[in-house]
């Protein structure tokens, strides 16, 4: 792994379940830019563990509810 191709996430769904939290609001709570949240949400960038845990904390759910690892071909 390395490209992040097999990591998916439910950030968008979780944001909308939390009062339609905007990307900018999540970015502010996580300490990254809105563009970085957008890139993570679209699967274009895999965040570090620190940011991943930060996103989960900001959304109020455990990490495994936000990010999902899928093995190649699985």
């Amino acid at each position: 792994m390395g490209s992040g191709d097999f990591i998916t996430n439910d950030i968008r769904k979780l944001r909308f379940e939390r009062g339609e939290m905007t990307q900018a609001e999540l970015a502010a709570k996580t300490g990254v830019t809105r563009q970085t949240i957008n890139a993570i949400e679209q699967g274009k960038y895999s965040p570090s563990l620190e940011v991943a845990f930060g996103i989960a904390a900001a959304l109020g759910v455990p990490l495994e509810q936000v990010f999902h690892y899928r093995k190649d071909g699985a």
Binding site: Q35, T36, A39, K44, Y45, P47, S48, V51
Partner: protein, 144 residues
């Protein structure tokens, strides 16, 4: 578009404009056969001063439009994008420096005028900077 992407755009466009003009003036000097007498260093100093002043003005405008972002440190994705672009630029700079060193060490210094070695080395550095900024913009646009 994020503050850092705007900053990179400013750097890229100013590099292309200022150093593009410098490269064009060098081309005219070479065409005219005036490489021995042309005061390229003086011209370069003036252009670098213009570049610095223009950068300060444009950066101030962009920073004023997004004061929070401009004072915040780069996040991990922005740092990664800068790092990857810098790796490529470093390689280009090293190739340029080694090529210039090769000309000097090979004792061809007298056959290849200082005008070409100095400007060749300088333009390699400028080219590396343009590549660095271009890679950053492409990665910012693509998301990572």
């Amino acid at each position: 578009m994020s503050y850092r992407e705007k900053s990179v755009w400013i750097a890229l466009l100013l590099d292309l404009a200022i150093y593009g003009y410098y490269a064009w003036s060098l081309y005219e000097v070479v065409q005219a056969g005036q490489t021995e007498t042309y005061e390229y260093f003086d011209r370069l100093i003036v252009l670098v001063v213009i570049l610095v002043i223009a950068t300060i003005i444009l950066e101030s405008i962009v920073a004023g439009a997004s004061p929070k972002e401009s004072t915040a440190p780069a996040d991990e994705r922005e740092r990664l994008i800068a790092l990857k672009a810098t790796n490529v630029a470093y390689t280009i700079t090293v190739i340029g420096a080694l090529t210039a060193a090769g000309f000097i060490a090979d004792n061809t210094f007298n056959r290849v005028p200082l005008f070409y070695i100095a400007n060749g080395l300088f333009l390699a550095v400028v080219f590396a900077e343009i590549v660095r900024n271009t890679i950053q913009i492409v990665r910012f646009r693509r998301g990572a």
